[in-house]
Amino acid sequence: MRDRFEQALSPEVYQAAWRYALRLSTRREDAEDLLQESLAKAYSRFSQLRDASRFKGWLFSIVRSTHLDRLRRERARPPETAELPQLAAHETDPLTRDIAEALALLPQPQHELLSLFYIDGLNLNETGQVLGIRSRAVRQRLYRARQALRKQLDSIPAVECATVPGGGNYHENL
């Protein structure tokens, strides 16, 4: 089974999974642990994968669920070190920097969708596989997420009447 597993885990898929683990993690060591744990799970479940062409999306979904499990386990624990922004090396380009900022402001599902598709380079089917939605829905949501990203990039703070408490909004449960 190891041969078939290593054949499916081509160097390109391995690199892609590493970059994904790195993007999800705050430190390189965490990314290595995440990838190792994910590969161990993938190997032990490999016999359940019926269609080898779906390996990449399947592996990414394991990396994602392993990452979420780790987050849940570590939620109670204070962070040991400050976050190391993985995209720092690319942020010299103003557009890339703006996009990184705008992505961070998007709702998490849109952020994740755009990151998987554009940054991690998954195709529509693989992205859908990771997120548990159909590829047609991925295409539709991509469009909306890109529109949302564009609005973020264009966003100019709305001019609010400062006389209303709360920066333009007032809410009271009477």
């Binding site: 970059r19 161990a40 995209l87 599902p109 991690d120 007032y170």
Partner: protein, 297 residues
């Protein structure tokens, strides 16, 4: 416009970064359209955002992963393992239990885990308040409105009553909109609404409110619910807490549709977008009535 949108969708979905991937006709459209050119630049920029730290050696990583996989054998419960090496009467008993479980799951209605309450939202559009000075909530007619609502609550609600009145004022682009939410599952909610409208009519200078039947969703205790995310569906307004996810909204609306239109086939697709400080929710609802063949969108 349709060609433009389709082209934009193609640029997005196919991650096109240069004109060479387009037909001559498409290229002609893109070249004169800064937004489409920008969409391609954004594709390129996002593709360059992959983290570039070198990967650990693949062989060593695989060896470690194999060891970890051997150390921690994941529990697997397959039908084969459940039935393996058991006598025929034990296997029959297991099969009956499994069948009961499957039928049980099928029969138990799926719940969203959310509670919902009904009521009305009254919206008052004040128009431009560009010249306002000081705290607008302390000035007429807002100050008087506030007092009338307090009195309305005191007159009509008792302590421990689930009913609520919420006042929400929002200024956007210099225009003031006030929303009053009357939340009540009480059978007398229509009567309460009439009383509220009557009370509002006593405040001089208030615009006539538009009234929309509404449903609020929240956790089981209905704590923290409000009008953070509100959206219209065929004249009915849904209100979700700010923390609601797309999945929760979809499940809640589906649940509401099932109770309001039993037997109808429904599909709900929710998308939440954060635009600046605003959160926008887009919902696509497809309802196919049980007896008719027309789709309602």
């Amino acid at each position: 416009m349709r060609i433009y949108d389709e082209l934009k969708e193609r640029i997005y979905a196919e991650r096109i970064v240069d004109l060479s991937k387009l037909t001559p006709d498409e290229r002609a459209i893109v070249e004169v359209n800064p937004a489409l050119m920008q969409a391609m630049r954004e594709n390129q920029a996002m593709q360059s955002m992959q983290p570039d730290a070198p990967a650990p050696a693949r062989e060593a990583m695989l060896r470690a992963a194999y060891r970890a996989a051997d150390d921690v054998e994941e529990p697997r419960m397959t039908l084969t393992s459940i039935f393996a090496a058991k006598r025929w009467y034990v296997q029959t008993a297991i099969a009956v239990v499994l069948l009961a479980v499957v039928v049980g799951f099928w029969l138990i209605p799926q719940e969203t885990g959310w509670a919902q309450v009904d009521g009305y939202m009254l919206q008052l559009d004040f128009g431009s308040i560009a010249d306002c000075e000081g705290d607008i909530m302390a000035q007429p007619p807002m100050s008087e409105l506030h007092g009338v609502l307090k009195q309305f609550k005191a007159d009509n609600f008792t302590d421990g009553d689930d009913a609520k009145v919420m006042l929400n004022a929002m200024v956007k682009d210099g225009n003031l909109t006030v929303t009053i939410s009357l939340v009540s599952n009480d059978e007398n909610s229509e009567e309460l609404l009439s009383k509220l409208q009557e009370a509002l009519s006593t405040v001089p200078g208030l615009p006539t409110p538009s009234v929309v039947p509404s449903t609020w969703f929240g956790d089981k205790d209905m704590t923290g619910f409000g009008c953070s995310l509100d959206l219209d569906f065929n004249g009915h307004r849904f209100n979700f807490p700010d923390s609601a996810t797309e999945e929760e909204i979809e499940a809640a609306i589906l649940s509401w549709l099932e109770s309001e239109h039993p037997g109808a086939e429904a599909e709900v697709d929710a998308t939440i977008e954060q635009v600046g400080e605003e959160k926008k929710v887009m919902i696509r609802v497809m309802v196919k009535p049980p007896e008719g063949s027309e789709d309602k969108d």
